[in-house]
């Protein structure tokens, strides 16, 4: 018998979906700003304004999320370092490459207190500590090129910042594709999605 277990608090779910929405809008408007000749959705001017506004939303949401994860202790879930981490990560990779096709059980059982498998931890570590900061810093500098021209010139100018920002956007887009796909690898294809919508996850272990 399976039992529904609370996995995500309301705060986490709101944070996640705001983050998802803003990243989606930022990617779409970012591409329009990046290549306005190829993408015509809002028009260049409105795309720039929308991109800036949603960047502020993303930043604010990220800051609130960081505050929440720090104060609630949930930040520990994102920190790899438990014993045998490398072996566990290898086992998770083997599962995705083979075990999943053979119907083998997940090598890592998610619990409310430890929701991320080793590969997820590595991925989120890179996303939150490398990709997102790079994107935020380059984005802020591009936005502030008019206000702090000397600073921007010191770090290479727009000629360097814009390509880095664009490349990071492509990485984000690739991550989102992967992220959405991996949500289908739960007990059922929609189990993880339901969990992020309702907050509850079905757990065999809890039912025992």
């Amino acid at each position: 018998m399976k039992k529904e277990v609370k996995f995500y608090s309301l705060h986490e779910r709101i944070w996640h979906w705001i983050q998802a929405l803003t990243i989606l809008v930022l990617i779409v408007t970012g591409f329009e700003v990046h290549a306005p000749g190829r993408i015509h959705l809002l028009g260049f001017e409105l795309a720039v304004v929308t991109h800036t506004v949603f960047a502020v939303v993303l930043l604010a949401n990220a800051a609130m999320g960081l505050f929440y994860f720090l104060t609630s202790g949930a930040i520990r879930q994102y920190v790899p370092g438990e014993s045998g981490f490398f072996v566990k990560a290898l086992r998770q990779a083997q599962y995705y490459l083979g075990g999943i096709f053979r119907g083998e059980p997940h090598p890592f059982e998610a619990t409310p207190g430890n929701r991320l498998n080793p590969l997820q931890k590595v991925t989120y570590l890179m996303i939150l500590n490398v990709l997102l900061p790079v994107q935020v810093v380059t984005g802020v500098l591009i936005w502030g090129a008019e206000r702090w021209p000397d600073l921007v010139a010191t770090v290479g100018g727009l000629a360097l910042l814009v390509p880095i920002h664009a490349l990071a956007s492509w990485l984000f887009l690739s991550f989102i594709v992967m992220h959405i796909y991996l949500t289908t690898t739960g007990e059922t294809p929609t189990a993880n999605l339901k969990a992020m919508l309702t907050g509850f996850h079905e757990s065999e272990e809890e039912a025992k």
């Binding site: 190829r38 260049f44 720039v48 304004v49 999943i100 096709f101 119907g103 000629a159 814009v162 992967m178």
Partner: protein
């Protein structure tokens, strides 16, 4: 006397500034070169003696880059593609200085190297100088008669077979002409237009342009200084019914050329050049009084620094700039990154959105037409530009980086003109048009490049070679009203930005010679000269070559290629992985089983 002069001058200045009717210049006895009254001697008038009675004509003549045209220093950098008057300091080809004056003196104000003629004050200070008569005397070599000929039409002098005769009834007992006939005054824009380009100050005139060497500024940059609406033009301008804007908003606002290009020591309009002003000084409080100014008006007029004008380089960049009159920050609230745009774009880049006049594209001096003129092609024009029926399409100026005196590099509107001409391969000098006309005209004129080369060899040109150059001409006139300025971000930000289209430079390359960019005026060629599939010469502009990266414009970005590959690989991985799962899930042997068990069973069989 000094006070009276000051009063008169003050009134004169006021009249000139307001663009209103001119106040009367005091009666001045006309003197010849010996200082005698011309009505007594019948000799040509001497401007140095006549005007020099009150004005320091020697000072004026030695402080005028118009006079110093042809000097060794000026000629060293000279290359006039329209007339092929090329630099050769101190050595004027084909007949020396006299032939040079006869050929090019139309645009020389007199004095300086133009020995035998004086600085022709009348050319600029008469409301309607007789340019045809003046040019006729220049072409004839009667240089001492040039100022007198310029007075034709005033009623003071008439032309007879024996020469110019003074109309004594028009002079008073002191030998001074009737001031109302002479009507001397400050130079108007029309005076400047005589040599520089199309000027039409009548707003109702049906302006018609005949582009060519007589209006060089118009031919090379499309400058038309006129308050008239383009839609009232006599030309067949494309979409003219919609073009309700004036040719030049500054002309429509009653400015004159001298408003920006005035005398640098004019006390009422004094701006010290940033190149000479100490950094801590915002303004120079000292200045001449009006009388002193009128006695010694400095004729090294304030000027910009453009690639097409090499004269007066010592005062280049001294003129009024847009920001001297306009506060851009007060009117560009709509513009995101306003300061950054100001740093990267000259005002003209947006405020001269298009040129609606025929604009030179190429000049081919390697062959001449029946009239001995080079082959000219114009942008936006298919057919004879002097034919009123010929459609004149708008040309969007090319934006190229230009480095100003203060070291700032900004995109500025330019017109690029390719020019091909013959040079003496031994001396490196340009084969002058007089030689070309002797060799390339007539029924037996050589046709092919090799035939021309042989003919030039026979004419004494050593090792004739074709040389090609792409020259940039800064576009700073023809400013549109603000409502017509470029506001569409995609004009610069986007794949369809104005940089993305190649700039046509020449249909063909005479002799197959690939021209080189002639850098001058601080303009850099951001891009590459290439031949397209049809063999035509084009410029592929790349603002990144100048360190400028307009958002949205990077047609060949490596980042996107890497990113796209990354995205496609991710997508492929997901599709293959997910597709395999789906395939295994719906495999017949898994039907009716729980999903994971079914997948496992089928996977086991498949993988076994």
């Amino acid at each position: 006397m000094r006070g009276l002069l000051a009063t008169i001058c003050f009134l004169g200045l006021l009249s000139g500034r307001a663009g209103a009717q001119r106040l009367e210049h005091p009666a001045v006895p006309f003197l010849d070169g010996d200082g005698a009254r011309v009505v007594d001697t019948g000799a040509p008038v001497s401007t140095m003696k006549t005007c020099g009675a009150c004005h320091d004509t020697e000072y004026i003549a030695t402080h005028s880059y118009h006079v110093s045209l042809g000097s060794a220093a000026e000629r060293a950098a000279r290359f006039d593609a329209l007339t092929l008057d090329a630099g050769d300091p101190g050595a004027f080809p084909d007949g020396g200085i006299e032939a040079w004056i006869r050929t090019f003196g139309r645009r020389h104000v007199g004095g300086g190297v133009a020995q035998g003629t004086e600085m022709n004050c009348f050319l600029c200070h008469l409301p309607a100088p007789a340019t045809a008569e003046r040019e006729s005397e220049i072409a004839r070599g009667s240089l001492d008669a040039v100022p007198t000929a310029t007075l034709a039409g005033t009623g003071l002098v008439s032309k007879s077979e024996s020469g110019w005769t003074w109309n004594k009834e028009a002079f008073d007992d002191a030998g001074a002409p009737d001031p109302t006939l002479l009507a001397l005054g400050p130079p108007s824009s029309t005076n400047c237009g005589v040599c520089h380009g199309a000027v039409e100050m009548d707003p109702d005139a049906a302006l018609f342009l005949t582009p060519g060497p007589r209006t060089p500024e118009t031919a090379t940059t499309g400058a038309v200084f006129s308050p008239g609406r383009i839609r009232r033009s006599g030309m067949n301008v494309e979409g003219k019914e919609e073009l309700s804007r004036p040719w030049d908003v500054h002309a429509a606002r009653l400015l004159e050329c001298s408003s920006c290009h005035g005398a640098p020591n004019d006390p009422a309009d004094y701006i010290e050049s940033p190149t000479t002003r100490p950094g801590h000084m915002k303004a120079e409080a000292r200045g001449l009084d009006l009388a002193e100014f009128l006695r010694t008006p400095n004729h090294d007029f304030r000027k910009g620094r453009v690639s097409q004008a090499q004269a007066g380089q010592e005062v280049a960049g001294s003129m009024r700039r847009c920001e001297d009159c306009h506060d851009a920050s007060a009117s560009h609230g709509f513009l995101p990154y306003a300061e950054r745009h100001f740093e990267r774009l000259q005002c003209e880049a947006c405020h001269i959105p298009a040129i609606h006049a025929p604009l030179l594209e190429s000049i081919d001096w390697t062959v001449l037409d029946e009239e001995g003129e080079p082959r000219l092609t114009y942008r936006g024009v298919e057919g004879d530009p002097s034919d009123p029926r010929t459609l004149v399409a708008a040309t969007v100026p090319t934006l190229l980086p230009r480095t100003d005196e203060d070291g700032t590099t900004r995109l500025s509107p330019q017109n690029l003109v390719s020019v091909f001409y013959w040079v003496d391969g031994q001396s490196g000098t340009v084969v002058p048009p007089t030689t070309l006309r002797e060799v390339l005209r007539g029924d037996a004129a050589p046709q092919t490049t090799e035939e021309v080369r042989r003919a030039l060899l026979e004419a004494g040109v050593g090792d004739p070679k074709i040389r090609g150059a792409v020259r940039s001409y800064g576009i700073h006139h023809g400013v549109a009203p603000a409502s017509w300025a470029v506001r569409d971000c995609s004009a610069c930000h986007g794949a369809t930005a104005r940089f993305s289209e190649p700039v046509a430079l020449a249909d063909t390359l005479p002799g197959g010679v690939m021209p080189e960019f002639a850098a001058s005026g601080g303009v850099a060629l951001a891009g590459s000269l290439e031949r397209n599939q049809a063999g035509a010469l084009e410029l592929r502009v790349d603002p990144r070559a100048a360190g400028l990266s307009p958002l949205g414009y990077e047609p060949d970005r490596w980042v996107d290629r890497i990113g796209l590959w990354l995205f496609v690989l991710t997508l492929c991985g997901v599709l293959i992985h997910g597709g395999t799962r789906v395939f295994l899930h719906f495999h017949p042997k898994s039907k009716g089983r729980p999903s994971t068990d079914g997948v496992a069973a089928v996977a086991g069989e498949v993988l076994r």
